[in-house]
Assembly symmetry: C2
Homo-oligomer: 409 residues x 2
């Protein structure tokens, strides 16, 4: 499976890579927009394609509860269900089970939790979490882990990390025994190696909407990544990395960060954990971060990141620009004819003024959330594109990105 | 001003026409999507262009309150403010003042009302309503009228209709005296006769976003339309039409319908009122209606219609299709892989399944409102396109439209 990832160029600690998935190749470092329940909030799949999103993330916990894995499976998997022809990653549900459920009960077997929607009781085990993710059919799926709370004492963190390691082994075993049931693995190949974004003309449509275009590009299997835990303890992180690597995965994630700890500590743990991860495998830092942070972590050698921040902030009127953050609700923008970011070529900045965006937000118009989300996602994706360009030129990715070199308040 | 409208073809009572505005020619019969506060809810201007919207409607009452006419004026008028290069019509505020204000006070001079936003007191007179509309700078503006309540006794309807006629004369006088202040009339001509929809490349952008593209196509003035009232009384409608025509306008609207009366009565009043309107001027039926109704009224000789129904229904999960209405929230669609409307070529029906749309709605996802709105608008605009095609072929517009001939429950 090591051929799934290749490193094209190295600049400092940063790496320009290429990750091959059943739904196309991904250039890394990559930012993955979050599409919690099979939708990146407020943004159409067409727009995501236009923005250059290479891979999006779905949340197993949410999709399991609604629409349910059986519905997604019957609809041909997540790609067909949401008509997204490029790559998808699903998390394992571990993080949501811990963050959305105060009444969860954790045993060696797994986690009993209550739905945040209707209070109904459910169980995730390492095996069931993988089973659900095989049913959803994402290109990259994640081991079921325990996201250790912060703060926690060392014994608690060690016990949690060790259980995550045991769960990782169970996940891998279940995956190896069942991966042939994956829609990604079993579906016929109908696309070229690099699926395009054009939809077939109406006259060629099959009964299943856009089915053909969401077929995997090859008969490659899903990729199961392991997750390193260990709280804020560098030694336990090292041990978690070693144990996870020993089990063996085609990619490794760093989980359990951005859970309330100071940002300097996050960075310290990321940097020290990266030292213990294989250089020839993709490294995924989960749930991070601000534009400055994604540039910084890419420069440290992180290959994949995801965060709800661009879309969530957008819905609250907080917009990221090359000149810093803008709170578009402010009256100072009411008659500002400038584009949101004069250095941005996104469809929002090409067409609309700050005054109009401010008016839409102040008027609580649906379009405010749509346009703000498109811009923020564009800003994140363009930032990562510039990081990749910097690495390809052998330059400091923080400089050319235009973000990391000058952090804004 | 009679040259602004030409009739290309007549089929029965239906007319295929062409209305020339400062922002391009409009083929009639036309359906005008409603963009209450300078946004068709949930739909970008790019998408509206792709859907073939020729003209959209803005509500003077709402725009007057927020962002305010001075802001719009300083931003270069409504076209520039919202970056919409095609035609815009603003209503006079009359309908909203009556429908949103229980505490309004009507005198011969005008209407005192309270903002539905903050309770602040405001006054609209015929003169001020025109002044606001000159400031907003729409291509077609409307006389300030009193929308008579339903039911009302004959004397009340007569008095109201007569005041609307007197107000119409005041509107016309004020407009004639001040129309040279209109941004539409005074702005320099920078576009060809038929403004395109492509935005200029980023490198050519001026400081004001998209300003050039929203310039009027010629130095033509705004068009002020009169409004016929008279409640549900055919005689009073006739008298209102005659008095409004005597004042003289380049187009005539039928107002005061769809205010709670039975639909058969609406149709009867429309049909009888149309008999008294000039055949060589555009006729605008305000606030109507369902897909079946817009086809029916076009066949009676109505040239322009607007309605919030396609977007409002969309936000409630009610979708219009060639096979009838669909309530997408229903569980029966949970695993339905078919497109919403297999006869529809809109971007939603080309790409997404009913199952996905149902999931988005059930999950209260922002994208549900966006996609549903795009489809319903597409259905309305395509319906009217088919009506125009039918008329051009000399056929019964109700037949070829695929809607009016088979009304659905």
């Amino acid at each position: 499976m090591s051929t799934a990832f290749s490193i094209e160029k190295i600049s400092g600690s940063a790496r320009l890579g290429r990750l091959t998935t059943p739904h196309g190749k991904i250039e890394t470092p990559v930012f993955m927009p979050v599409g919690t329940v099979a939708s990146v909030k407020g943004v159409t799949q067409e727009t995501l394609e236009q923005l250059g999103a290479q891979i999006i993330l779905g949340n197993t916990y949410h999709l399991y509860l609604r629409p349910g894995v059986e519905t997604v499976r019957r609809m041909g998997g997540l790609h067909r269900f949401m008509s997204w022809p490029r790559a998808i990653l699903t998390d394992s549900g571990g993080f949501q089970v811990f963050s959305l459920n105060e009444l969860r009960k954790v045993t060696e077997d797994g986690v009993t939790f209550r739905s945040h929607l209707d209070g109904s009781a459910h169980v995730f085990t390492p095996e069931s979490a993988i089973d659900v993710q095989i049913g959803l059919g994402a290109d990259i799926i994640m081991a079921f882990d325990e996201c250790t709370e912060y703060p926690a004492d060392r014994e608690r963190v060690r016990a949690s990390m060790e259980m995550t390691a045991r769960w990782a082994a169970r996940c891998k075993k279940y995956f190896e025994d069942h991966k042939d049931q994956s829609l990604v693995g079993s579906a016929p190949t109908t696309q070229s190696d690099n699926p395009g974004t054009d939809m077939p003309p109406v006259s060629e449509r099959s009964r299943q909407v856009s089915a053909a275009n969401c077929q995997p590009a090859s008969d490659k299997s899903q990729l199961l990544f392991g997750i390193v835990q260990g709280g804020m303890d560098r030694e336990l992180r090292k041990e978690s990395a070693e144990r996870t690597i020993e089990i063996g995965f085609p990619g490794y994630a760093i989980g359990g960060l951005s859970v309330g700890e100071p940002r300097a500590l996050t960075r310290e743990i990321v940097e020290s954990t990266l030292e213990h991860l294989p250089k020839d495998k993709p490294r995924y830092l989960m749930g991070v971060g601000t534009p400055e942070e994604i540039v910084e972590y890419a420069s440290l050698g992180v290959d994949m990141m995801d965060c709800v921040l661009p879309t969530r902030a957008a819905r609250h009127g907080l917009l990221f620009t090359s000149e810093g953050r803008i709170s578009i609700k402010q009256a100072r923008y009411a008659q500002d004819a400038e584009p949101l970011d004069s250095n941005c070529a996104c469809s929002v900045c090409r067409r609309y003024s700050r005054a109009y965006l401010r008016h839409l937000y102040a008027s609580n118009e649906l379009l405010a959330q749509v346009l703000n989300s498109v811009h923020n996602l564009s800003f994140y994706l363009d930032t990562m594109q510039r990081v990749r360009h910097s690495i390809s030129l052998g330059k400091d990715s923080r400089f050319l990105s235009g973000v990391g070199s000058r952090p804004k308040a």
